[in-house]
């Protein structure tokens, strides 16, 4: 790709990017949120037309803004934003627009079998090809997207944060898959904010910043800190993770106490507590039940039964409304579907939980002030608040959701994958914010599929498997091995 430029509303998102990836290699692209990674890939895929520049594949120029042509030439993309059709089956989605037919009629069985094979390849054999895509959890959808990209037998495979929704095990399996594909001669453009995996798999790394090409380096010839410096433009002052206070000895009345919470088929007699000022990490494999647990506590799953106490007082949480009123907050793992009003501006989204009013009338000034203050706190440029969040980069969207929940001033915050799709700089910020909140006495239940951050941030770690809490360990000193063992351990026969 040479001299690629793109502007939205006459405003540059990409400024003359050059990018060359050798065949049969894994070429990582990293950069801050909004650096232009996804846009660049969208241009490569022909779904967004560049304003300037050219693309050559094996020397042949590729017509711009023609997704069909790109597909013909073997380019296939796993988008950062999901592109499944919720009402169609998994199989139908995987083969969308390249359905095999027999005398003009869809060869449905063949599609199902093929899909099952592809799903197995990406390590999601448990997904039934006949399920509606809309019924899948985030992680499951992510894997379907990958399977879909593979169905094309691509020469060039673009993966835009494919692991963002995955937990350690799936992540590992996906990386293996990438390696096998590379071995088969597939070129892979790999976008991720998880630098450790970038270093684990990439042959070369290109860094973008503010729509400009900063550097392209051999992985062997560089290290994490250099990349971070190139991305963020500064060293991360203190380490990625904030200091943990010494574990407080007295375990007083917990801010949140859940006992015997059950949801037939999903949650099985879950009990846990979160102290004031404590960050409790909740680890587990995809489908372990963490999100379900979070939603159940938050009153979003009426089918769930159990007792919940806030600051020792029994709380009858029948609905998210009740939950928020009791000072509970839930940052959903599903930004697009449950987090944001995509076509409204940041200000309105941030005020969704806490809208400053007097006698039913909105205090616009206060609303705006609140948004600006919180935007600063999550390191989001205040100007971005005036735009429909739809037009923000994934990471910046995540910051808006976070700001919304900061506005809520919750006493207990449940954060479900809060750093999904966020660049390292921003991640550090979010960890810091979590710590600040804790210091202010907020209890935090921190759900994440990224083991390093669970280990790095949590005061205490809970591990879930099959809807049950199967292990508890102090955060400091906990090891990936210990957590994984608990997460994958087979149930001992009862």
């Amino acid at each position: 790709m040479r001299g690629i430029s793109k502007a939205f509303f006459g405003v540059p998102a990409l400024r003359g990017i050059d990018l060359a990836a050798a065949a049969g290699t894994v070429h990582a692209i990293v950069g801050e949120n909004g650096a232009g990674k996804s846009t660049l890939m969208a241009i490569l895929a022909g779904v967004v037309a560049a304003d300037a520049g050219e693309i050559r594949i094996g020397g042949e120029p590729l017509p711009m803004g023609d997704s069909e042509a790109a597909r013909q030439r073997g380019i296939s993309v796993v988008y950062q934003e999901f592109n499944l059709i919720p009402d169609l089956s998994v199989a139908a989605n995987v083969f969308l627009h390249r359905e095999p037919t027999r005398h003009g009629l869809l060869a449905s069985r063949r599609m199902r079998q093929e899909t099952a094979r592809l799903l197995a390849e990406v390590g999601a054999a448990d997904i039934d090809p006949r399920l509606r895509a809309g019924q899948l959890g985030v992680a499951q959808q992510q894997l379907v997207e990958v399977a879909r990209a593979l169905a094309l037998r691509p020469r060039i495979l673009v993966m835009d944060e494919p692991t963002a929704a995955l937990a350690a095990q799936e992540q590992a399996r996906l990386l293996d898959l990438a390696r096998t594909l590379r071995a088969r001669g597939t070129t892979i453009l790999y976008i991720s904010h998880r630098l450790e995996e970038v270093f684990a798999i990439a042959d070369r790394i290109t860094v973008l910043k503010d729509g400009r090409h900063v550097a392209t380096l051999d992985t062997a010839a560089t290290d994490r800190d250099e990349i971070v410096r190139l991305m963020v433009g500064r060293d991360l002052a203190r380490g990625l993770y904030p200091e943990r206070p010494a574990a407080q000895a007295d375990r007083g009345t917990p801010a949140l106490a859940v006992s015997h919470l059950s949801w037939p088929g999903v949650l099985d007699d879950v009990s846990l507590d979160v102290q004031r000022g404590e960050i409790v990490g909740l680890a587990g494999l995809v489908g372990a039940g963490r999100t379900s647990l979070a939603r159940a506590i938050f009153g979003a799953e009426p089918a769930a039964r159990g007792e919940i106490r806030l600051d020792g007082r029994p709380a009858h949480i029948r609905s998210p409304r009740a939950a928020t009123r009791l000072g509970l907050g839930l940052l959903s793992e599903d930004r697009k579907g449950e987090g944001l009003a995509m076509n409204l501006e940041g200000v309105a989204n941030i005020a969704a939980v806490h809208l400053p009013t007097t006698m039913g009338l909105v205090r616009r000034a206060a609303e705006r002030r609140q948004a600006v203050t919180l935007a600063e706190r999550v390191r989001l440029a205040p100007q971005a608040l005036k735009r429909a969040v739809r037009t923000l980069s994934g990471g910046n969207q995540q910051k808006v959701v976070l700001a919304k929940w900061l506005a809520a001033r919750a006493r207990v915050l449940i954060l479900d994958e809060p750093t999904r799709g966020i660049d390292v700089g921003a991640k550090a910020e979010i960890y810091a914010i979590m710590r600040e909140l804790a210091a202010e006495g907020v209890g935090i239940l921190f759900i994440s599929s990224e083991l390093p951050e669970i280990l790095g941030v949590s005061d205490r770690i809970l591990v879930m498997r099959r809807g049950r809490i199967v292990a508890e360990m102090p955060g400091p000193g906990a090891t990936e091995e210990a957590v994984m063992r608990a997460a994958v351990m087979e149930d001992e026969p009862a």
């Binding site: 999901f82 592109n83 059709i85 919720p86 009402d87 627009h97 697009k336 579907g337």
Partner: protein
């Protein structure tokens, strides 16, 4: 109520619903798919009640008239189903049927030799207007409801440009389309069945059909998958126009003359049929079989009320409440 319960488009699981953020076209509940069997339950009840209250309901004559009564609406509703499945809507079908009725009868004016040419003309007009709708839609990218609402007005005008009063007459051979029957089945009824069968096959067993659902489900994602949206839309509205054309021919044969406002009301009736049939106005979910079920249901409702000798005003109240009851019932049925 929980979100899981609420996530009308997403079913029970707390899952992402790409392209379905927000309440969706016609809002809250629009994504709700009326349980597929809902309409059949309603239909069964309607039949039982009618048969019980009006003994003549099951008479051969009445059933025959019923079949011919429902056919025209049934045919146009098939096309409407395709449009709505694709996330669109077509308000122009009614007046399109009217235009066909007026022109064919006006031109034939009793001349038997012109019968078949007029059938061709009817199809041509339907297809033409359909293509026009689709074309304008992709060119202007305005909301299909606005577009077809404007088209409705234009077509009405076109009718009155041609005549301001009932014109022409259908020759016997043309009328036969509406009055003749094959064994116990009126031709028009068979046309409806065939149209529905073809639509069903295309929608469920071909790529075209698959893309209709995809576009209705999440247009942007369908586009990214490389589905040619513009040609698809033109084709979809062309289909709607075509079925409206066929329905228009049926109407022309049934009325036997070119009554200017003959088509008025078919646009809403067809939409009601489609939605009662379980197709989501948000697009992406539903079936043409359900639509036919709803058409039969509506015909029986009207027929039953007439046979039972219910007064017109009460009939209107009942019809309204039945529609409400039906949707409320299904939406509950779906959650249970």
């Amino acid at each position: 109520m929980g979100v899981g319960e609420r996530a009308s488009a997403a079913g029970a699981a707390p899952a992402v619903v790409p392209g379905r953020a927000g309440a969706g076209r016609f809002g809250r509940g629009a994504g709700t798919v009326l349980a597929d069997y809902g309409i059949w339950a309603a239909l069964a009840i309607a039949i039982v009640v009618s048969a019980a209250t009006a003994p003549r309901f099951l008479s051969g004559a009445n059933i025959h008239d019923l079949m011919s009564a429902m056919a025209v609406l049934g045919i146009v509703s098939v096309g409407q189903t395709v449009v709505i499945l694709s996330g669109g809507i077509d308000l122009s079908v009614g007046m399109l049927m009217g235009l066909v009725t007026v022109l064919t009868n006006g031109i034939m004016n009793g001349d038997a030799a012109l019968a078949w040419p007029m059938v061709a003309l009817g199809l041509a007009i339907g297809l033409g207007v359909g293509l026009l709708n689709g074309g304008l839609l992709v060119l202007t990218r305005i909301d299909p409801l606005i577009l077809t609402f404007g088209m409705l007005s234009i077509l009405t005008g076109a009718i009155f440009v041609y005549t301001d009063q009932t014109v022409g007459a259908a020759p016997a051979n043309f009328r036969a389309i509406a009055q003749g029957s094959l064994g116990p089945f009126p031709y028009l009824f068979l046309v409806m069945v065939v149209a529905a069968a073809i639509a069903w096959l295309v929608l469920t067993r071909t790529r075209f059909g698959r893309y209709v659902y995809a576009i209705g489900g999440a247009e942007e994602h369908a586009r990214r998958a490389g589905i040619p949206i513009a040609p698809m839309k033109v084709a979809i509205y062309a289909i709607s126009g075509l079925t409206a054309g066929i329905a228009g021919i049926g109407l022309a044969a049934r009325l036997g003359s070119g009554y200017t406002l003959a088509g008025q009301g078919f646009e809403l009736d067809s939409i009601v049929a489609v939605v009662l049939g379980g197709t989501s106005l948000a697009g992406g979910r539903g079936s043409v079989i359900g639509t036919i079920g709803a058409v039969v249901f509506l015909a029986i409702l009207s027929n039953g009320l007439n046979l039972a000798g219910i007064s017109p005003y009460t009939q209107q109240v009942v019809k309204g409440l039945v529609v409400v009851a039906a949707v409320v019932l299904y939406t509950r049925a779906r959650r249970a």
